[in-house]
């Protein structure tokens, strides 16, 4: 028998949850105190100007496969942000590190308290940051469908903040409450109180950036969540496992968004009889984004995201692995001893100004491995984009930039490497910068295309309509009610 047991979510409480919040008065009180601040933050920093519109959003009514995607029109401030954990796996043991095989922790082990708190704070801080970065995009949405997808991403990032705040408040006492408060005080791009990680202080100025961000940068989030889902601290594992199901939607928005931009460009080229993808001026005159510019956008977003994985060789990451707090991508599928004391991992490094791979202690190289897994994962979508381009008969291939390109953190931060992986001197790099990443003029051009298209079933001229609607809705479905 495989009938799943439905874990119902309690919607009677102010904060929907499946963790029996009402039985823990202190925790409930702390979260209820945090709640108004969160709503204020959403109204201040959430999607600008859209809080009174009804948006077709999915909300979880249960964490089992059948219960967590219920769709309806709701106003975003009324979205039921809740605390939802994946079902507990009975008898689960710590899957890696020096405590491997011991029962998982239900409480924070005292010796790892600060390390664990730091991990949760860093993850949590990215969630509201992206909402802040994307808050102006509704004004230039290429369709109601895309606007709805943006807002779905936003409310779910908001829920992910809730998920991390729940852990902080429940398990870290006064410190945790303090950190939770700070989450609402930092602001993306703010000089005084910036978000913790660099990429989350970058602007998301246009929709192509948004799609690239959800494809490349949210994918870092996915990799981090995958690693935390392995955690020996079971509440963190269960929280992140449920977040991953939502994160998949963000990957979808990014991958399909970029693909639709590519397809529209190729269609427009074919309609106009242009076969040379580098005939940029003629292609731009069609009101679509030329493929070389899309490549430059890709170079920027992917390389900035590489930095999010931190230093390739990291004692912090090694400590978190050894402690059993943060594992590897798909740890359960890896066939080794999951302790890695005698293992090595090849890490690309700079030796005498050249890029060489050297075997390093596998524990020290945890970040490097996660970055490599990320690159493999991200290349999958690039391959599918290239299939779409080829199918439309245009001779052009997108490529992932070399992992040493445009790095500010880690092994490669002091050298200049082209997207193809060639080490060059600083002058050459600077002189070619506009060939590697979007120039001011490129951004001005893209920005000029960003005109809203709010008619049901209509799409801006630079993006193709999606192949299927959300929740199988028909093409002219009113994803956002503007009236």
């Amino acid at each position: 028998m495989s009938e799943s047991v439905r874990v119902e979510v309690n919607y009677d409480d102010l904060i929907p949850n499946n963790v029996n919040l009402s039985s823990d008065r202190r925790l409930l009180k702390a979260l209820e105190e945090w709640h108004p601040g969160y709503i204020d933050w959403w109204k201040d920093m959430g999607p600008e100007g859209w809080n009174d519109k009804e948006v077709y959003l999915r909300t979880a009514v249960g964490v089992d496969p059948k219960g967590w995607a219920v769709f309806d029109h709701v106003k975003m401030p009324d979205y039921r942000w809740g605390v939802l954990l994946a079902p507990k796996v009975e008898g689960r043991t710590i899957p890696f590190g020096k405590h491997k095989g011991e029962p998982v922790w239900e409480e924070v082990p005292a010796e790892y308290r600060s390390m664990l708190r730091r991990l949760i704070v860093i993850q949590g801080d990215t969630e509201p940051a992206s909402v802040e970065q994307q808050r102006h995009l509704g004004a230039t949405a290429p369709s109601l469908y895309d606007m709805r997808n943006l807002f779905q991403v936003n409310v779910e990032e908001g829920r992910h903040l809730w998920a991390m705040v729940y852990l902080l408040v429940k398990y870290f006492g006064k410190d945790g409450r303090e950190e939770a408060k700070m989450m609402l005080e930092r602001r993306s791009g703010n000089d005084d109180k910036p978000r913790i990680l660099g990429a989350f202080n970058e602007e998301t100025p246009d929709w192509l950036s948004f799609f690239m961000f959800t494809y490349f940068t949210d994918r870092d989030g996915k990799m981090q969540l995958e690693s935390l889902a392995q955690s020996g601290f079971d509440p963190l594992s269960r929280t992140t496992r449920f977040m991953l199901t939502e994160e998949a939607h963000h990957m979808f928005v990014g991958e399909s968004g970029v693909q639709r931009v590519l397809e529209r460009t190729c269609d427009a080229m074919n309609e106009a009889g242009i076969s040379d993808p580098y005939d940029i001026e003629a292609i731009r005159a069609l009101g679509v984004i030329d493929l070389p510019t899309i490549q430059k956008k890709l170079n920027f977003h992917m390389s900035v995201t590489h930095d999010l994985f931190g230093a390739e060789l990291s004692t912090n990451a090694a400590a978190a692995f050894e402690a059993g707090l943060k594992g590897r991508f798909k740890e359960e599928k890896l066939e080794d001893d999951h302790q890695l004391y005698n293992e090595t991992y090849p890490v690309m490094q700079v030796v005498d100004g050249q890029l060489v791979e050297k075997d390093e202690n596998a524990i020290a190289a945890i970040n490097s491995r996660l970055l490599d897994d990320y690159i493999t994962d991200a290349k999958g979508g690039i391959k599918r984009w290239n299939k779409a381009i080829a199918k439309l008969g245009i001779d052009f291939e997108l490529k992932a930039p070399h992992k040493a390109f445009n790095r500010k953190i880690g092994q490669f931060s002091d050298i200049n490497v082209t997207p193809e992986g060639e080490v060059v001197d600083a002058d050459t790099f600077t002189a070619n910068l506009e060939n590697y990443m979007p120039s001011e003029a490129d951004l001005v051009f893209i920005n000029g295309l960003m005109k809203p298209c709010y008619e049901r079933g209509q799409y801006a001229g630079w993006i193709k309509e999606p192949k299927v609607g959300i929740n199988s809705q028909p093409g002219d479905f009113e994803y956002v009610r503007l009236a």
Binding site: K66, W68, T245, G381, K387, K467, P474
Partner: protein, 406 residues
């Protein structure tokens, strides 16, 4: 013809996020390589656990096939293959001229209707109690042809008894049948899904049995008329034969328990099976409650309409019936009547029911009928100032609009 409605993943829409594989309760039913995610037709039991979590809709892809696409086939795809033409000797163009492959391929999917929950007051269904690895063994206690001899449609009413095995079902659910033997490649045959045609307390009240409505499918191949493997097996069953059964399946196409709920039931051919179960359920409950039942049922002629005789005996107070025939000899071809035409004639009554928040709509039959039904609802709503797309969304959200077509 042996038709199977195969569950597939659209490689052009899929983003390889692994959510389906993660949520699949059957080890190995969904797998992937570095290119594609694929569904193993031998293992998938149509539990639908993967459908709702999929962020892209790629998972909700189906093809009616004679032979299931293999894993290698699926791994090689850049896009889904076109739906192949399924040959059928009796088929014609038109939404209900053919009710041929019908029950062979019936299953719980609701393609094109989005994710619709069960009605608010339906009973909780039990699903997947019996599997290919551990099927229930039912005994045939009856097998009767219910269309007139000499007509093209050879439709059977088959009763299966489960003896001491627990096989709890609800009206609207389906069961799987495993035809004995192996295919040309030596692999076991695919499971065939059939809608249950009897109510929850048994074909005979208090018995641990259920009924199916199965049409014998024939097709032309190699210059000869051949018989569908699944439906042929079923229609040829003899009393006391043993049948391997999986399921039950289906957790949304269910009837409300509220006796005041109205049911609009629209079907062709063997699509009538679930409605027979629902009607009989209401009849046995004694017809108290204010709920109306309105049935639109299409077939070629009275002699080819399953359960034509028994239907005649039901009072209008229980079941308001509109039997629609597309091929009666005194009607020439240009005048063929299909269910949507009759629905248009009952537009007033339908509109009144649509305005009632206690109304549930069910459509079951050939996929081709969906469009006609949609258009009819759309135009009858438009004529009365109702917004059908919005209303339909409300109905879907409430679990009051269910489609099961093949």
């Amino acid at each position: 013809m042996t038709a199977l409605r195969q569950h597939l993943i659209d490689p052009e829409v899929c983003i390889r996020c692994n959510t389906c594989e993660e949520n699949c309760p059957i080890e190995g039913a969904i797998e992937h390589n570095e290119d594609n995610y694929v569904v193993n037709a031998d293992l998938c039991n149509y539990c639908m656990s993967c459908i709702s979590p999929c962020p892209t809709g790629a998972i909700d892809s189906w093809r009616v096939v004679e032979n299931a696409y293999s894993l290698d086939d699926q791994y090689s795809w850049d896009e889904l293959p076109e739906q192949i033409e399924i040959q059928d000797s009796g088929a014609e163009d038109g939404s209900e001229a053919s009710e041929s492959e019908a029950t062979d391929i019936l299953e719980i999917a609701h393609a094109g209707n989005g994710i619709v929950p069960a009605p608010a007051t339906s009973s909780k269904p039990r699903i997947n109690l019996w599997t290919r690895e551990k099927p229930a063994r039912a005994t045939v206690t009856g097998n009767y042809r219910i269309t007139e001899e000499g007509t093209e449609s050879d439709i059977h009413h088959i009763v299966l008894d489960f003896g001491a095995q627990s096989f709890p079902v609800l009206e609207g659910q389906s069961i799987g049948i495993i035809p004995p033997g192996t295919d040309a490649k030596g692999k076991p045959h695919q499971v065939r899904l059939y809608s249950i045609a009897s109510p929850r307390d048994g074909e005979r009240p208090g018995y641990n049995n259920l009924a199916l409505t199965v049409k014998r499918v024939t097709f032309e191949a190699d210059g000869a008329t051949q018989e569908g493997l699944g439906s042929g097996y079923m229609c040829n069953l003899k009393k006391n034969d043993e049948v391997m059964v999986t399921g039950p399946f289906g957790s949304t196409f269910l009837m409300p328990n509220d006796p005041d709920a109205n049911l609009i039931m629209i079907c062709t051919g063997t699509g009538a099976a679930p409605f027979r179960g629902m009607t009989e359920r209401r009849r046995r409950l004694g017809g108290h409650g204010k709920g109306k039942m309105l049935l639109f049922f299409g077939a070629r002629s009275p002699s080819e309409l399953p359960y034509f005789g028994p239907l005649q005996k039901l009072p209008k107070s229980l079941l308001d019936q509109e039997l629609v025939f597309s091929r009666i000899s005194n009607i020439d071809d240009s005048n063929k009547e299909y269910v949507q035409h009759r629905m248009a004639k009952r537009a007033e009554d339908l509109a009144a029911l649509l305005n009632d928040e206690n109304t549930h709509i069910y459509v079951c039959g050939l996929k081709g009928m969906e469009q006609g039904v949609e258009e009819t609802f759309n135009s009858l709503c438009a004529d009365r100032g109702l917004d059908w797309p919005q209303l339909r969304q409300q109905l879907r959200n409430d679990g009051r609009y269910h489609i099961e077509t093949y």
